[in-house]
Symmetry: C2
Subunit: 301 residues, 2 copies
């Protein structure tokens, strides 16, 4: 079985994770979390978002977080930016990498960013152009690639062509995202197959949610297909708030445990990663969903 020797892990806990948590997390606590993740060797840490502070109050202090973290040389700290206004705030705060959000489902796009897919691409084009002038790299998320909560099935071919379209706008990488956690390995192979007709897999990341327990099997499928960048969230932070222990983002430690077992290098120190999750676990109002995190605490007891 041929697998990559090395992968890049993107920890989205400080943004995608915390944004979905109810508990109030202070700026200092966010800074500590980002610093613990960089000390653990996580190469890419999504540090926050420059979105509406009215709709997403949890991300209102991203500029302060960026100002206060200890920037580890080589570590990247992307921030999510929905539009030009967000980009200006990101640039003012010294962001050197941003992330933009598109959807593979028309209904999800309208409900999530209040724009059709085409309209959202106009926005993203403007953001990419301005970012390029500022020397800032742009990562793209493509959400609902494996299923939409409103439309159901999403065509793999459409995911492929939208990936190409995002790359053509200037994003350096597209995170193919399973927003509602329905993907299974067969679908991963299908979607990747469709993408390879339009783009190099070196420009593709996979972003899985463990909502139905399939996230790691999907990663395995992705590794076998040749994808080498994976999003995850330490502790599984951002687990859907509907049930204790329910899971949103794939947990970084679950991912790293499997990758370590497969002999795939990540540069991440598991004990330090667990220190980051342990810190996060004391700030939220439910158990962290990460299976590995739970097991490691039980073993210590």
């Amino acid at each position: 079985m041929r697998l990559p020797s090395q992968v890049t892990v993107v920890d989205v806990a400080p943004r995608d994770g915390l944004q979905n948590e109810h508990a109030k997390i202070t700026t200092a606590q966010k800074v500590t979390l980002v610093n613990l993740l960089s000390e653990a060797g996580v190469p890419v840490i999504e540090a926050g978002a420059f979105v509406s502070t009215k709709w997403v109050p949890q991300m209102a202090d991203t500029a302060e977080v960026l100002a206060d973290i200890e920037r580890r040389p080589g570590t990247r700290y992307p921030t999510l930016v929905p539009n030009l206004r967000g980009l200006e705030r990101a640039l003012a705060a010294g962001s050197r990498e941003i992330a933009v959000l598109a959807a593979a489902s028309e209904t999800f796009s309208r409900r999530n960013v209040n724009q059709s897919i085409d309209e959202s691409f106009v926005t993203i084009a403007a953001v990419c152009e301005r970012a390029s002038l500022a020397g800032v790299r742009v990562r793209g998320y493509l959400s609902t690639c494996f299923g939409c909560p409103y439309e159901g099935d999403v065509s793999a071919e459409r995911v492929g062509s939208l990936t190409r379209a995002l790359l053509d706008l200037g994003v350096f990488e597209v995170a193919i995202s399973d927003t509602i956690g329905v993907a299974h390995p067969g679908q991963v192979w299908q979607v990747i197959d469709a993408i390879t007709k339009h783009a190099s897999l070196s420009k593709v990341a996979l972003h899985f949610h463990d909502t139905r327990g399939t996230a790691l099997s999907n990663v395995l499928a992705g590794l076998q297909a040749g994808v080498t960048t994976y999003d995850a969230s330490c502790g599984g932070l951002g687990g859907c708030p509907y049930a204790p222990g329910a899971s949103g983002n794939l947990a970084t430690e679950d991912l790293v445990y499997m990758l370590n077992g497969l002999g795939i290098a990540t540069g991440i120190d598991m004990d330090r990663l667990l220190a980051a999750s342990t810190f996060a676990s004391t700030r939220i109002d439910h158990p962290l969903p990460s299976r590995y995190f739970q097991a490691s605490r039980a073993v210590r007891r």
Copy 2:
């Protein structure tokens, strides 16, 4: 990617699951659970155990359970039997299939069944011989195949030769078990590779625990290697009691969800399977760890 078109799912919830639950489950409730599983189309249901009622009081009523269930034609209802005395009880209760327990780690064998591996094989040989005379089939568990809580690493080669030894005693199938939930896909390929030197994979089942989140990725690895029988527990029943949401057995619905996605037939009706888990969930004292079960309840809400 070549995968089997069909697999056999063995639901161990009424035995391996309930045995690890603290809550008191009545005989009538066990009967209901077994019946709900057979109505869901689960082809093999581990219905109980004829073990010491002193040490495992939860299994004291297995004879009554066997007497009261509605036996669905074609469904198998194995019961765990540790020794000849247990076998006599199983035969008296009308068991037509039993399961025996061996370990791949010397220390685990001594601590779990109070016998060395060699001694346990003498016991198993006697049980197999008597069972054969009675026309009763014997399934074998080989525990700690991917790691031992006392010894750490377990040699894949030893797993292979012990699998052969169990088959030579007359068991028709060996469930290669990840007792402490440490396996990862690379190890699954390694162990299966070692087994194929000694035995046909048609005689092998895989029994994973989802303790570190890797169970489904291990199943995917097993499917790719050609194994077609998988153990699981509805709802993930039997989740380690140490933490709410922590996971022992792979949840049957998580397994079936992935297999359905891969187009692999199991004969199991997901809605009816969820009905069995829902029933179980009302009888235990913690949330069921199955990710799929949690997601399905959240979606319904």
